[in-house]
């Protein structure tokens, strides 16, 4: 570790004590204890790997029977600011939702400015970009229209995905309030929320029910498709003479492979 890196790490460590209150809300007491220790570690001018391992050791016994001690002594404690910077994921039960708020109306303005170019003014999807709205009742149709409203089981997915990946080409540029507002607007486009003044926030977020929420179930192939197992495959006179009923060349959508793609 270079002197410069040590100085940088020390600076971060010094910041820990100031920020630990906000952090402990998301963490358990053990993490807080580690943070305290790390904060105190700023008395040490140089933090060696051995020190880090020592700091990272569990400091208070609890009922965790699987608790292990580090065997390799590699890696260093993740700092609360670092965890806060990356741990932005949101779960269906609301875990991870940041404090924030946004209305349908606010969301519409953001959507038309930053999202409609791909997703369409009404969330219908432009070209092959994904539609976000519509499609209710089409899941058993010949051509299902799978949108946030017709298909997505959890609202948290909308928030989590927007805040990490959207807008495409400028990811992680939206504030928490803007993500709440966009989420509210997408609900509105799907008639899940009817009031354009509705405000979505971290307190009412988990009260929203998605129309298709109950239509998902865990993989049951080993039961539902049990017939695919264990039978001795037929080797002789297994079926009547087959006839061709469809040809890919009739569909004519295979890329022409005579030359490679254009390469700059």
């Amino acid at each position: 570790m270079s002197r410069l890196r040590e100085a940088a790490l020390l600076a971060v460590l010094l910041g820990v004590a100031d920020q630990s209150v906000g952090w402990v809300e998301r963490s358990d007491t053990h993490h807080f204890r580690v943070a305290q220790l790390m904060g105190f570690a700023n008395a040490q001018p140089i933090l060696r790997a051995s020190d880090v391992a020592e700091i990272a050791k569990p400091t208070a016994p609890d009922d965790d029977t699987r608790r292990s001690t580090p065997k390799l002594g590699l890696g260093r404690p993740a700092l609360p600011e670092e965890i806060a910077a990356w741990d932005t994921d949101v779960r269906p039960d609301g875990k991870g939702l940041p404090v924030g708020k946004g209305t349908v109306k606010q969301g519409e303005d953001i959507f038309q400015a930053q999202c409609a170019a791909c997703h369409g003014e009404f969330g219908e999807g432009v070209g092959r970009w994904p539609p976000l709205a519509g499609g209710a009742g089409t899941l058993t149709a010949d051509r299902p229209d799978k949108t946030v409203g017709s298909f997505w089981p959890d609202l948290s997915t909308v928030f989590d995905y927007i805040q990490r990946a959207m807008p495409f080409g400028n990811a992680r540029s939206l504030s928490n309030d803007e993500v709440y507002a966009l989420t509210a607007y997408i609900l509105s486009m799907n008639d899940i929320i009817k009031d354009e003044n509705f405000e979505l926030n971290e307190r009412n977020f988990t009260s929203i029910r998605m129309p298709n929420a109950t239509a998902f179930y865990d993989d049951d192939r080993e039961i539902a498709e049990k017939a695919f197992w264990g039978s001795e495959p037929c080797m002789k006179d297994c079926r009547a003479a087959p006839k061709v009923v469809g040809r890919a060349v009739s569909v004519d959508v295979t890329p022409d492979g005579k030359s490679g793609p254009k390469v700059d």
Partner: protein, 426 residues
């Protein structure tokens, strides 16, 4: 995934175009050219060729070797109408031209959700947080100081063959089956990293997250994570390719490719799945009753004949080699059967090369062909006794709208002139 907006009439041009890649369509030779007493000597033998007269490139001319210029058409190809943007898209491994079980690194299909993240390994960090005793940050140097292992596994996109649910659509195994590759990974068992952080007993799921602009995230059950998951930094003996997640990716043997998070930057332990976009709106299997299976992680046993196939037509009567690949996410391939008559009669193919757990296996049938029409199929059986189903058997239990996990038996119709095409049979 959508069907093309318009379907044209049968296209002879297109069909011949595909065949022309491999230089077929010309007259089939039944006997060796020099067999007769009046045959002319081959000037390639009797004349001194340029490459036999003058030296070629010296050793430093090609510091990182690439395939021969005569192989320039053996490349990954995409299907432009499938996706809206090349940054959120897929291309396909040229299976028809490959052999053995290892996919060359530069031909492994790509699937990105926000393009290729270009990350200096010195700038890469892996964080483990959540329900652990010690949230930790690792550098690439840290990871390279851990005990490592080597494993050969296939990676198949759950959407491989997804365009074929409603019938034959793409004319070439590169496009129907090319969202798969099989390489040797070098990496650290995830269990070692989790032990270092100390999983809490309440931890039942992990969330894996990429450093790319899609922040790709997926939930992984803890039992799988502790079983055989690797955090890999090398493939086929060298650093991961950028498009395969350089400098660090997850390897989830036998499970759908979307879980193998590339540019892996964070692993969070939690007590329930996250229901991310990629495990709810995508990578769930919509069935005929309108309900959807979720967490369909395992890739079922599957196989395909890679040659002959539409891009690899037969060029000679007499002796020929039929070859293909088989794999199963539930174990090892135990057997592959091949039919030349559309599934009426079958023969067991010869497996050659390593037959490994959750890896591609290579099969062959050496056969004589006298120009008769054939409907070629292959059927894999795995070590759990799973028998690869027909497409119709799959449709019967799933309908045609599930997009993912299409492992039905493929049919290639081989014409008397040696050309092959993708057909649906009944």
């Amino acid at each position: 995934m959508r069907d093309p907006s318009s379907t044209g009439a049968p296209s002879r041009r297109r069909f011949l175009g595909a065949a022309a890649i491999a230089g077929a369509g010309a007259a089939l030779s039944a006997v060796p050219a020099a067999a007769g007493g009046s045959a002319k000597p081959d000037p390639l033998i009797t004349d001194v060729q340029d490459w036999a007269r003058t030296p070629g490139d010296g050793v430093d001319k090609r510091p990182y070797g690439t395939p021969s210029k005569f192989e320039k058409n053996i490349i990954r190809r995409d299907v432009p109408w499938l996706t809206a943007s090349a940054q959120s898209s897929v291309n396909f491994t040229p299976l028809h031209a490959l052999d053995g079980i290892i996919t060359p690194s530069g031909l492994c299909f790509e699937r990105h959700h926000a393009g290729i993240a270009e990350i200096d390994p010195a700038d890469h960090r892996l964080m483990i947080n959540g329900l652990v005793d010690r949230p930790l940050v690792f550098t690439m140097d840290d990871i390279r100081r851990m005990p490592r292992v080597n494993k050969i596994h296939f990676l198949e996109c759950a959407a491989n063959s997804g365009m074929e649910w409603r019938g034959a659509q793409l004319n070439g195994c590169q496009f129907t089956h090319g969202m798969i590759h099989n390489v040797m990974y070098t990496g650290v068992p995830l269990k070692l990293l989790l032990d270092e952080a100390g999983l809490k007993p309440s931890a039942k799921w992990l969330m894996l997250e990429g450093a790319d602009a899609a922040g790709m995230n997926r939930s992984l059950p803890i039992a799988k994570a502790l079983d055989d998951v690797l955090i890999a930094f090398a493939m086929n003996g060298e650093a991961l390719r950028p498009e395969q997640g350089y400098p660090l990716r997850a390897v989830i043997p036998g499970w759908e490719g979307n879980l193998w998070v590339k540019w892996l930057r964070r692993i969070e332990a939690g007590d329930q799945p996250w229901a991310t976009r990629e495990e709810t709106s995508k990578y769930t299997d919509l069935l005929a009753d309108g309900r959807s299976r979720k967490h369909t992680f395992v890739m079922d046993a599957k196989s395909v004949v890679t040659s002959p196939s539409p891009q690899a037509p037969l060029k000679h009567r007499g002796r020929n080699v039929l070859t293909g690949i088989a794999w199963s996410g539930r174990g090892a391939v135990s057997r592959v059967d091949v039919s030349l008559d559309g599934g009426r009669n079958w023969q067991t193919a010869r497996l050659d090369g390593p037959v490994l757990d959750k890896s591609m296996a290579r099969f062959y049938v050496d056969f004589d062909w006298q120009g008769e029409e054939m409907m070629i199929q292959s059927r894999a059986v795995d070590s759990t006794g799973y028998v690869q189903p027909t497409k119709d058997a799959l449709r019967k239990v799933r309908g045609v709208n599930s997009i993912y996990h299409n492992n039905g038996i493929q049919t290639w119709l081989v014409h008397p002139n040696g050309e092959a095409e993708n057909v649906e049979i009944a």
